[in-house]
């Protein structure tokens, strides 16, 4: 059956045009405002020749025009591709070329957008949205097939190039059905949602599309300062009732939790990285009315697909090593553990279901590595997450089986950094990127480089022209030789220990 992922929003805009939809800083926009602005941007896209199935880029800014752009793209039956404003032109250029993007929308990122349009081989138009006047009429949407592409997110890739994750309308519709129709969440038009995520990170979709689908409002961070302080400010002053956050935020706020009071918070949801029991226990004291859940989901499985409800006052899980379980699969998702040795309680977490994409974008080799087909003919995704299943059926996260890391929720392949570091200075030096030892919220990247004549400042500048801001190493440390493990490979754990013992030897 063909319908639009925007049908609920369009209905709310028609019935309650004066209701608040988005509050950006001091300015509130109604459903009518958002609908009419989206309609105007959709008309611009139509004039640009954007058709169903096309990929349209936009700079991930925190403006009403940015959210209207997303709705406009989806209303045309096209797929949206967000671009980071802190990524260098070279990185965004790779995404634009790989996705075949012809139109890039921007609100204030004129310099970045024009540089991108002028870059070699991009063949795209940069279209400003800031001065587009709202339409007289509301947004209308074309029907979408479940097999149509809905959005394309690019994550860090281990070969030095961003890896595209295509999500179809089928997958997003399955996620929305679980959130809105399972009965687990009782969201109402009175709810106020926090939107703390960069739009290149898929939990952002929960934070704006769910409220717009239930007639509620959402509050994006202004992104003018320090993230965790902005979150604390909005949670309190705007009386947020639904907040999905990365655990790093409450780790940063831990010294101040006793000063926070959040009686209006009804749902306190976490995703994106390991959630520590102690930090959560402290957090729960300032949100006594909140239903607290730890959610899990890679981008490949559409936002989140496992959940664990954490009860106020519950003790640490006996097998959790201080980490809150990620729980059980949400409706429509199957999860199983794939173990080399045949063990059935520990192994790589694999996912099946409509929420799970079937492949990467234009990347057969990575698709072959990460996706498989079971005996029943179902596609499954290998997450790379090593997990344990307890007797109650809850899944516990144990760690990664590869070199992917999370920093403040950002997913980073360390080989991506190493690829670009190796290319600097002739490409002859050995390099190894690691994450320092420490708890969530205290992580950063340390890059070790072979040699005693390393141009650390030059290397740091080089990486800034290749990688987004969150992937730039905090420290660059020259080493005369690398410790090796029993397989003759660089021993990353030994490097982490060395960093912990010696501290920073040199700095990016």
């Amino acid at each position: 059956m063909e319908t639009s992922i925007l049908s609920r929003f369009i209905d709310h805009a028609a019935q309650h045009a004066d209701r608040s939809a988005v509050v950006v800083g001091e300015r509130a926009y109604t459903y009518g405002d958002l609908s009419r602005l989206s309609a105007a941007i959709a008309a611009v896209l139509e004039r640009q020749g954007v058709q169903r199935g096309d990929r349209v880029g936009f700079f991930a800014e925190s403006t009403i025009h940015t959210y209207a752009s997303i709705l406009a793209i989806l209303s045309r039956g096209a797929a949206y591709v967000p671009l980071r404003t802190d990524s260098p032109v070279a990185r965004n250029r790779e995404i634009v070329c790989d996705a075949g993007i012809r139109v890039v929308l921007y609100a204030d990122a004129e310099h970045d957008a024009r540089a991108l349009a002028a870059a070699p081989d991009t063949n795209c138009h940069a279209v400003p949205t800031r001065d587009i006047a709202p339409n007289a009429g509301p947004l209308k949407a074309v029907s979408q097939s479940p097999a149509d592409l809905c959005y394309l997110l690019f994550t860090s890739g281990s070969t030095g190039r961003p890896k595209g994750v295509p999500i179809l309308y089928r997958s997003l519709s399955a996620f929305m059905a679980t959130i809105l129709e399972s009965g687990r969440y009782e969201f109402t038009p009175r709810d106020r949602f926090l939107q703390m995520f960069d739009l290149t990170f898929d939990p952002s979709i929960f934070a704006y599309l769910v409220p717009l689908s239930v007639g509620a409002s959402f509050y994006p961070l202004p992104r003018k300062g320090i993230t965790y302080l902005e979150v604390a400010d909005i949670l309190e002053t705007q009386e947020i009732s639904v907040a999905m956050m990365v655990p790093s935020v409450i780790a940063y706020l831990k010294p101040y939790i006793s000063e926070l009071s959040l009686p209006h918070l009804r749902y306190s949801l976490f995703c994106g990285e390991a959630l520590h029991h102690d930090t959560l226990s402290a957090w729960a004291t300032c949100a006594p009315s909140a239903k607290i859940e730890n959610l899990y989901g890679p981008t490949e499985a559409t936002i989140v697909c496992l959940r664990y409800e954490w009860r106020h006052g519950e003790p640490p899980h006996p097998q959790g090593k201080g980490i809150v379980p990620i729980g059980t699969p949400m409706e429509g998702v199957q999860a199983f553990l794939r173990a080399e040795d045949g063990a059935d309680d520990v192994g790589e977490l694999c996912l099946i279901g409509d929420q799970v994409t079937a492949s990467y974008w234009n990347n057969p080799s990575k698709t072959a590595e990460a996706f498989g087909t079971n005996e029943a003919g179902q596609r499954f995704y290998r997450t790379g997450d090593l997990c344990r299943r307890d007797r109650a059926g809850n899944v516990l996260y144990l760690g990664r089986i590869d070199n992917q890391v999370k920093i403040d929720g950002h997913r980073i392949e360390l080989e991506d950094i190493e690829f670009h570091a190796r290319a600097f200075d002739g490409g002859d030096r050995q390099v190894a990127a690691v994450v320092n030892a420490g708890e969530v919220g205290r992580h950063f990247i340390v890059l070790f480089v072979e040699g005693d004549d390393v141009d650390t400042r030059g290397l740091s500048e080089h990486l800034r022209t290749r990688l987004p801001g969150y992937m730039i190493p905090r420290e660059i440390v020259p080493v005369s030789s690398f410790p090796l493990n029993s397989n003759g490979k660089i021993d990353r754990k030994a490097l982490v220990t060395r960093r912990a013992v010696s501290g920073a030897a040199a700095t990016a």
Binding site: G225, Y252, P255, Y256, R442, T507
Partner: protein, 81 residues
């Protein structure tokens, strides 16, 4: 301790925290002006400032800071009280 002295000492703190020997604070400076001034470094900086000046900030005081000038004024007010 006057505001010039606070600014001078604060420059030493910032050079240490942000590991940038040539960094000199100005009243208008914000996190956008300094490399690596992210959430983690902000916590480290605030803790270092509290230890260096022997003061303690509340969350609301930290939340209100818009730039380094506000931080200098806050330290000055704390030391005067």
């Amino acid at each position: 301790m006057d505001k010039n002295e606070i600014s001078h000492t604060l420059t030493s703190v910032f050079q240490r925290v942000f590991q940038e020997p040539s960094l000199a604070v100005t009243r208008e400076m914000t996190s956008r002006d300094v490399a690596h001034w992210d959430s983690l470094r902000h916590i480290v900086m605030i803790t270092d400032v509290e230890n260096t000046f022997a003061v303690k900030f509340s969350l609301r005081e930290v939340m209100k800071l818009k730039n380094v000038g506000d931080l200098i004024d806050l330290i000055h007010a704390k030391k005067a009280s």
